[in-house]
């Protein structure tokens, strides 16, 4: 198909249910609106350069507008600015781009449809704190891959919440690189050295499922809380089955659909939001999925 | 050595000349095993001194101590009157000591030119930047390479793509490039044919005339006699004799080295019946490129050793590879006792009873990570095993027995069959490889340069084995660039040239001259 689609959306990755759901949401919306959209993603969540190149390459095709979910607040600033300067509307999805950097590059987005990952982490931690109640106790965080922006933000949010609570003690915060098997092993080891541990907060659901397995293997199912992040289908199922305590879910399909809708509107409007003015903000709320 | 009678003066009366290098009481242990036990050696300018000794006597080790590769465990080395407990490679090089190693040390990836200058590339300034001076290198290299007979050699070709003889010549040229005062040549002629050897000797004589001291190691006594002035003999790590070549007979030299006189000729005793069905029949073998081996046919009869003579690069090795299935053929058949066994690869060749001692033991011969036992046993194990040599268990006991037998039969000098093959002297490594092929009880045996680097005693042993195999009804083919050896063993001699058999001469009547005249005959 040598014909150009109308819109291009660059996601962080597609090798994870969260992003697959977002893709599905965008595609469904595109059908509704009767537009064509190309959805692409970086080959890995560490490869900032590849995502940058992906955006650059997409710029060489004649799209009407772009949606982008940057791997970090800054890695897509340059191509996003280039798109803006070519007169193409851009919509920022999920990870919020650094506004100052974008402004300095002489560009602006039409809309933000982004998540505050610090809040997401906070929400997960807050839930744990509530569940532990007056007794409090020891808690641990299972982190994503070091250097990943969303993972770092979730960790920061959860850590701050835990540390602000006097009867809760954060005894370990260890990386499991988004890997389920590693999460299983890391959680097992943490349980070894902290036998009184009461809860885990995990920076995504893939790891939460591994941690859940570890808790079960240790014979502590139900005694140690496991809270994940994302609301992946398997995690929701496990929450329903009572094996996972909770997951901080967003609605990726809806995020994607909203983003596309805003992008199409902006193209129809025919003029870009000037640099320096406040663009439309759609804060994506996270909801706690519990049994 | 230094106490020679004054009346036994050398060609240029060199006894009066002070030695450049003296090695005094040199001792060397490897692990616990003594290899050199107090060896003395004086090296004088303007003289070719021959170092003789059996395989494993310690010749190469002594030379490696002189050039700083090995540290001696005892003794001293006196360079220009200054005594050192050991020399470093740098010191040796600075003192003008240059060596041609027994095992080729050229760097295959580099061009011939760079190999000649490795470690001391000349530079010139271009716009103030020092750059390698290729022109100067080429000019210097060309003259020396021409003198060694490689006229028109592509100096910019990687030596890895050159035939082994050319690599040897480059190794020789490399040592001559430097300003040498002492030139050590550890079996420089083992991969050369007589033509190249002659050229080399011309050069050696010239160097001697210029006052260079030359230490020459070789197992070829004819050569030794031709080029040597004086000699010393090493046996089991001690000097057992020295003197002037001219005052000694070959038999004396052999006795000093081996302790007995050895048999020299091994031709078939009776007459060979060439009318009955041949043991091996080779029909129209052509290499895949139809160039290096072209339409070769020959027969080997019962009790016969067929020799292949020819100049370096005439394609003999390529032919043997084609016979063994190691190289793709465009066509041809190999028939053993009336049965077509044409192998498409060495596995089939080994399975049908062929054995092939390759010419380059380091590259295609031994398995460096194996012991003597492993090297001998692996091929037999492959031959005996079903499923293309993969099925079955290793029978250590039986294999040890086989290895021990070969060690005894070939008198391999080693600490035991559990020793790594890398620790053996060159000649003993070669014997291990002969043993590996003997152990499979082959029906067709191809020996490509079988006695390269082997001492006189062992050489006659191997010749004896070759003859015994022929007598036992095996088809024996021997490729050799050493014409005396060809004449000593082969009943017929196929003279190879440009990928073709030019003529097959009768071994009993052929001479070096008659072979060479065919090998160098003009026209394609």
């Amino acid at each position: 198909n040598a014909m150009a689609a109308d819109y291009a959306i660059i996601l962080k990755t597609l090798s994870n249910p969260f992003w697959v759901q977002m893709k599905d949401g965008i595609e469904a919306k595109a059908k509704d609106l009767g537009v064509e959209v190309d959805i692409v993603a970086s080959p890995s969540e560490e490869d900032f350069q590849a995502q940058l190149q992906l955006f650059e390459d997409m710029l060489n095709r004649d799209y009407k507008g772009f949606g982008f979910a940057p791997l970090s607040p800054v890695n897509l600033v340059n191509p996003a600015a280039a798109a803006y300067k070519k007169g193409k509307p851009i919509v920022n999805i999920d990870e919020k781009v650094d506004m100052k950097a974008l402004e300095a590059a002489g560009a602006n987005v039409e809309a933000f449809v982004t998540t505050d990952n610090v809040k997401v982490g906070e929400k997960g931690a807050q839930f744990i704190i509530e569940q532990l109640g007056a007794d409090g106790g020891e808690v641990a965080i299972v982190e994503g891959k070091a250097g990943n922006a969303s993972g770092q933000a979730r960790h920061d949010g959860a850590k701050a919440a835990f540390e602000a609570t006097s009867n809760v003690k954060l005894v370990a915060s260890q990386p499991a690189d988004w890997d389920r098997l590693k999460a299983l092993d890391v959680a097992t080891n943490i349980l070894q050295s902290s036998p009184d541990l009461k809860a885990f907060y995990c920076a995504n659901d893939t790891m939460a499922l591994g941690v859940m397995q570890a808790v079960q293997n240790a014979g502590k199912a139900g005694k140690v809380l496991v809270v994940g992040t994302d609301g992946a289908p398997e995690a929701r199922e496990m929450v329903a089955a009572g094996r996972l305590t909770a997951t901080v879910a967003q609605d990726p399909g809806q995020i994607g659909a909203t983003s596309l809708e805003l992008l199409v509107e902006a193209v129809k409007a025919g003029k870009l939001t000037p640099v320096g003015t406040e663009p439309k903000q759609v804060a994506v709320d996270s909801v706690l999925v519990t049994k | 050595m230094s106490n020679l009678a004054p009346n036994a003066a050398g060609p240029a009366g060199t006894e009066a000349v002070a030695p450049i290098v003296r090695m005094v009481g040199i001792e060397k242990h490897f692990n616990t095993i003594p290899v050199l036990k107090g060896v003395n050696l004086d090296i004088r300018p303007g003289e070719v001194h021959v170092l003789l000794g059996e395989n494993g006597a310690g010749k190469s080790t002594l030379m490696k101590i002189l050039t700083g590769i090995h540290e001696p465990t005892g003794g001293e080395i006196v360079l220009d009157g200054v005594s050192h407990p050991l020399v470093t490679p740098r010191q040796a090089s600075d003192a003008g000591i240059s060596i041609i190693y027994q095992e080729l040390s050229v760097i295959n990836e580099l061009s011939a030119l760079e190999n000649l200058f490795v470690g001391r590339l000349p530079v010139k300034r271009r716009l103030g930047i020092p750059v390698v001076d290729w022109k100067l290198m080429e000019a210097e290299a060309r003259s020396i390479v021409d003198r060694l007979g490689l006229v028109g050699l592509d100096l910019f070709k990687p030596v890895g793509e050159m035939p082994i003889a050319h690599r040897q010549i480059i190794e020789i040229a490399k040592s001559l490039m430097k300003n040498v005062r002492v030139l050590v040549m550890d079996e420089p002629t083992s991969s050369l044919t007589s033509v190249e050897t002659e050229r080399l000797f011309a050069l050696v004589r010239q160097l001697r005339g210029e006052g260079t001291a030359i230490l020459f190691i070789s197992h070829k006594l004819d050569e030794v006699r031709e080029i040597g002035d004086s000699f010393s003999v090493l046996k089991d790590g001690v000097s057992t004799g020295h003197g002037r070549i001219a005052d000694t007979t070959n038999d004396d030299l052999v006795r000093m080295m081996v302790g007995r006189v050895v048999k020299q000729r091994f031709l078939a005793e009776g007459t060979i019946d060439r009318t009955s069905m041949p043991v091996l029949k080779v029909e129209n073998v052509t290499s895949a490129d139809r160039r290096r081996v072209r339409d070769v046919s020959f027969e080997v009869h019962h009790g016969e050793v067929l020799g292949f003579a020819g100049l370096v690069g005439s394609g003999r090795t390529d032919l043997m590879n084609c016979l063994f299935g190691a190289e793709r053929r465009a066509g041809g058949k190999i028939i053993l006792n009336g049965q077509d066994i044409t192998p498409d690869n060495p596995v089939e060749a080994v399975k049908s009873g062929m054995a092939y001692l390759t010419e380059n033991r380091r590259q295609t011969g031994f398995t460096p990570n194996f012991t003597i036992e492993g090297n001998i046993a692996v091929t037999k194990s492959v031959k005996d095993a079903p499923l293309r040599g993969t099925w079955g268990l290793v029978d250590r006991k039986a294999e040890r027995a086989v290895a021990e037998e070969q060690r005894r039969r070939l008198s391999i000098r080693c600490a035991g069959i559990d020793q790594s093959i890398l620790e053996l002297s060159g000649g003993n490594q070669q014997k291990v490889l002969v043993g590996k092929w003997m152990s499979i009880g082959p029906s067709v045996i191809i020996f490509d340069e079988p006695t390269r680097g082997i001492d006189v005693g062992a050489k006659s042993q191997i010749h004896e084995i070759i003859r015994a195999l022929a007598n036992a009804g095996k088809a024996v083919i021997m490729v050799s660039s050493e014409l005396p050896e060809i004449l000593a063993v082969c009943d017929r001699v196929a003279v190879f040239r440009n990928g073709r058999i030019m003529d097959i001469l009768d071994g009993a009547t052929a001479t070096e001259e008659s072979i060479l005249s065919v090998a160098m005959r003009d026209g394609k």
Partner: protein
């Protein structure tokens, strides 16, 4: 002097073991309460079992002076196939046979055939197939984990015999089989010969291409079995599973004293190499070394472990 030679030989065999002991002592001193608990020791073995399985496979390509960079993807793809077969209603045993064992052997054979046919260095071939196998895993799974298969399967594979976890028994018995294979069979010895010098092996009548194929099939088989272990341990097949595992596997093989230049190495040392990696990982968690420092300590420990081993070996 002969004493020293013997010591040297002993070190060759037990050197890696000593390094492991040094690391164990180190961690025990730093965390006397938790690290040395029997449960934790069992845990280390359990956590190392997948690394060991993959390293056992990786040993063979390295033994012939090659490498297999695709083991992580093979683990993911075989695990995914096994899981999908089970979810589709196949009997677990059959699913493991087809997906894990058959799949592993097939993917390994693809590597081996490509190496043989193209004559390229295995590095470039398996770099390519690593991407290909990962892509296929993503495609057949739609990038979503596959779960919900038989508890019997999960319980059997993750169960215990006495206090020893089944994966540990499995990995160690498999190692024993491969040890026997490398030390006692003709095929095993032939592989060492190919590793020592391909050309001389070829001229000795060893079918180098066949052995290369077998080597990669063994590597694929081990990765496939590791894939089965991994889905059982997780109760799910993750499409991104095994990413970067080749690095651990290679590290375990090299820590175990295997030469990169081929022909030298021993299976028991590879097992210990895998245990060293597992112990370091476990110890870092137990000591709760902060995230960023984990990388530094891990890197430093790997280098020092191997360096220490080789320095002592050289001093013998």
């Amino acid at each position: 002097m002969s004493q020293r030679v013997k010591l040297g030989k002993l070190w060759d065999i037990y050197g890696t073991l000593c390094i492991l002991l040094v690391i164990v002592v180190l961690f025990s001193a730093l965390s006397p309460t938790y690290f040395t608990r029997p449960e934790n020791i069992v845990q280390i073995f359990l956590q190392s079992s997948i690394t060991i399985m993959i390293a056992l496979g990786e040993f063979f390509p390295i033994l012939i002076a090659g490498i297999d960079l695709s083991v992580g993807s093979v683990l993911a793809l075989t695990g995914m196939m096994t899981a999908q077969l089970m979810v589709a209603g196949f009997d677990p045993t059959l699913a493991v046979l087809i997906g894990g064992i058959g799949g592993g052997l097939t993917l390994g054979a693809i590597n081996g055939l490509l190496v043989n046919f193209t004559g390229l260095h295995p590095f470039i071939i398996t770099l390519g197939t690593n991407a290909i196998f990962r892509g296929v895993t993503m495609i057949i799974s739609g990038a979503s984990p596959v779960f919900g298969f038989s508890y019997d399967f999960v319980n059997t594979v993750t169960g215990f015999v006495g206090f020893v976890p089944v994966p540990v028994i499995f990995a160690l018995s498999f190692a024993a089989v491969l040890w026997f294979f490398t030390a006692k069979t003709r095929l095993g010895r032939n592989i060492y010969a190919v590793g020592g010098n391909k050309e001389s092996a070829f001229y000795s009548g060893i079918d180098v291409k066949l052995h290369t194929l077998i080597v990669f099939m063994i590597s694929g088989l081990c990765a496939g079995l590791a894939g089965v272990l991994s889905i059982a341990r997780l109760g799910a097949a993750e499409p991104a599973a095994g990413t970067g595992f080749e690095t651990y596997a290679i590290a375990a093989v090299i820590i175990g004293g295997t030469s990169f230049f081929g022909g030298k190495g021993r299976i028991p040392s590879v097992v210990i190499g895998g245990l060293i990696i597992g112990t370091i990982n476990n110890g870092l968690n137990i000591l709760r070394v902060p995230t960023f420092y984990q990388l530094v300590v891990m890197g430093g420990l790997i280098i020092s472990a191997v360096a220490l081993d080789r320095l002592i070996a050289r001093m013998r």
